[in-house]
Symmetry: C2
Subunit: 383 residues, 2 copies
């Protein structure tokens, strides 16, 4: 919801209008461009165009632009799907400025109230509603929005799995659970030269112990457990002053809800112990908490079938990252398509995928959307 986000939205909305799509904007800024070529609920694709501060070009943008490419290609080929096709741009997927992440798609499916979303305060102190209004994307459409017939999101993997096993396509079976916490550690500010080590109540040292503990926990649990401390702020943050306060974030993920809960519990116990040992107070605040998501097997199968039809087999894998698709999985048959990330690098300007893989992914998206349009999900499949 920065000015730059506004400019990006204007650009992509312009492209939607060039494709003669009906563009609707809802109360939390989600943009849905629909090709009303038929009646009924649309097959929807889409992703996000917001980014982390040091992100790459493909994360999110790829899925949105490929969706538009699918519609343009079908129009140019004179092919009319049996249902409307829609491309969504969902607000604040990254959660880099507002928590939780995937906020737009969460509100779209009714997982968070509009009022609560509009009142979210950014890490820079700005209010969601004010920032949305400033860029002119406080639209009229209500949330929750209408459920699509089916949802499929095309995204870069953002991890090293596909490349390391030599697959060009991934059929995503689900999304791992995400637990985000913000910790506030309060100790006692003091002079770095005169305060004996035994008398210190140093929140910076406690933050370090927490960071080391989380690495140890992740290594003990083994893959797919991951733990990250990505944000740490000391007060007053000066060379010769024992800090008075540290705020830090903790990102813990696992594909298994039971294991994720065990990790959270063990971490909470550690916080209690370290707070006592170091004579500091630690308060915690949940920034986001999403259980692992399992995608619709029928959609996962369709993605795999389409990949096979290109004679490029898809590897079935869970997603390490959160995606808007996981929200749509609550309201309609949903899955995702992955293309590889070179060296697994993402959230980094060096993020890259081969042109051929990007193109292949868009082809798979096109045929998957057509297949979804002609699939009646009210009939249970045999598999």
């Amino acid at each position: 919801l920065t000015d730059e986000d506004g400019h990006g939205r204007d650009l992509v909305v312009g492209w939607m209008r060039e494709l003669d799509l009906d563009v609707g904007i809802d109360v939390v800024g989600n943009i849905i461009g629909t090709w009303n070529c038929a009646s009924g609920a649309p097959v929807m694709t889409g992703s996000h165009i917001d980014t982390v501060r040091t992100g790459g070009r493909f994360d999110g943008n790829y899925g949105v632009l490929a969706g538009l490419e699918v519609i343009q290609t079908l129009k140019e080929a004179g092919i009319t799907p049996t249902r409307p096709l829609a491309v969504g741009i969902f607000t604040n997927e990254e959660g880099a400025r507002f928590a939780p992440d995937m906020l737009g798609s969460l509100v779209y499916v009714g997982g968070m109230s509009v009022e609560e979303a509009l009142d979210v305060i950014a890490i820079d102190g700005a209010r969601f509603a004010d920032e949305l209004e400033k860029i002119g994307y406080n639209g009229p459409n209500p949330c929750p929005g209408p459920s699509p017939h089916a949802f499929v999101e095309l995204h870069i993997e953002q991890g090293p799995v596909l490349e390391s096993i030599g697959f060009r396509l991934g059929s995503v079976t689900g999304v791992q659970g995400i637990s985000w916490q913000e910790l506030t550690i309060v100790g006692q500010s003091n002079h770095a030269g005169t305060t004996p080590m035994s008398m210190r109540r140093d929140p910076a040292f406690v933050a370090a112990r927490i960071t080391v503990f989380l690495r140890d926990l992740a290594m003990r649990y083994g893959p797919p457990q991951v733990c990250t401390v990505g944000k740490v702020d000391l007060v007053p943050n000066l060379v010769n002053v024992v800090a008075s306060k540290v705020t830090m974030t903790v990102d813990v993920r696992n594909t298994d809800e039971a294991v994720l809960r065990r990790a959270e519990l063990e971490f909470a116990e550690f916080l209690s112990v370290v707070a006592q040992e170091e004579d500091v107070t630690i308060s915690t605040r949940t920034l986001a908490r999403f259980e692992p998501v399992t995608f619709d097997e029928r959609v996962v199968d369709i993605v795999s079938d389409v990949c096979q039809s290109f004679e490029v087999p898809a590897h079935r894998l869970p997603s390490g990252a959160g995606h808007d698709a996981q929200m749509f999985a609550r309201v309609c048959p949903t899955a995702m398509i992955f293309v590889p990330s070179i060296k697994g690098i993402s959230h980094n300007p060096a993020e890259l995928t081969d042109d051929a893989d990007l193109s292949l992914g868009a082809d798979v998206l096109l045929h998957t959307m057509l297949r979804l349009a002609s699939t009646d999900f009210t009939i249970e499949s045999n598999t």
Copy 2:
């Protein structure tokens, strides 16, 4: 050298002029107020009026204001010392904005060139000379400045020693050595959800290991070894991004130069090991490095004698913090007087000393300055 520092200087210079002192300002902004009541080199006292961002009221200010109180008291009592008395306010003692700390007194005694000092860049990017000019304290007096006959600084202890052993006065025997480094750790920015732990090159985790190592080192070495990580900055500092870069400061102090060197060496070896283990690069920059200082025994004895004359014995102790006095120890007989800090708290708004102790310290300063004025340091003492 902020505007607030300028206002503080204006206030204290005004008080100096009310006492009819000759006020001289040198090229790095040191302010010397001299009572030219006699001929010869002055007995100088003084300290600093700059502060860390979350400092207390006494650190530095106490020594400067007590110096002015000494002169006012002598004038009111009609007592004329046998030498001029001078009170110095030394620029950037804390080093909170410009490195090294004690910059003003260091330049005054010729330990750093004026040119080098004027070119120092602040943590906020400002240049020392520009900031000095902005507040109007780029004075005409040259550095190095004239050596005083003797120097004595009155300061709060900023540590818990005097209080814990029940002494109201400290006769300071020297200052521990200080080693300040800035570390820059470069790893690889990546997605917190999709990057397996085994593939991470996480500078935030390395910063945590370094912080824990330094605590361990300080505990192994035992008192008076202290190590502090007071400043840590992650890039991009976001919840769901493995950091690309961390800059952090390290403050290591000991009263024994050999032990301090051993600590530095052991730390450097650890950095080399951890950089290899975690596949990051670590570069180091020295922000300040001062060897431990031993004060002039004759001045230390005079301080102790004066305390005894008040029937309040002084405890002899080294200073954990750096002080302007340690720079003057290079050019003239020098020592310090300490009063207790309640609970040892300093660099904290809660910093406090009993009024009675503050008053007693100023009395000791007065009589010490008179004794120093009448002492001929060219004659070796019998002790």
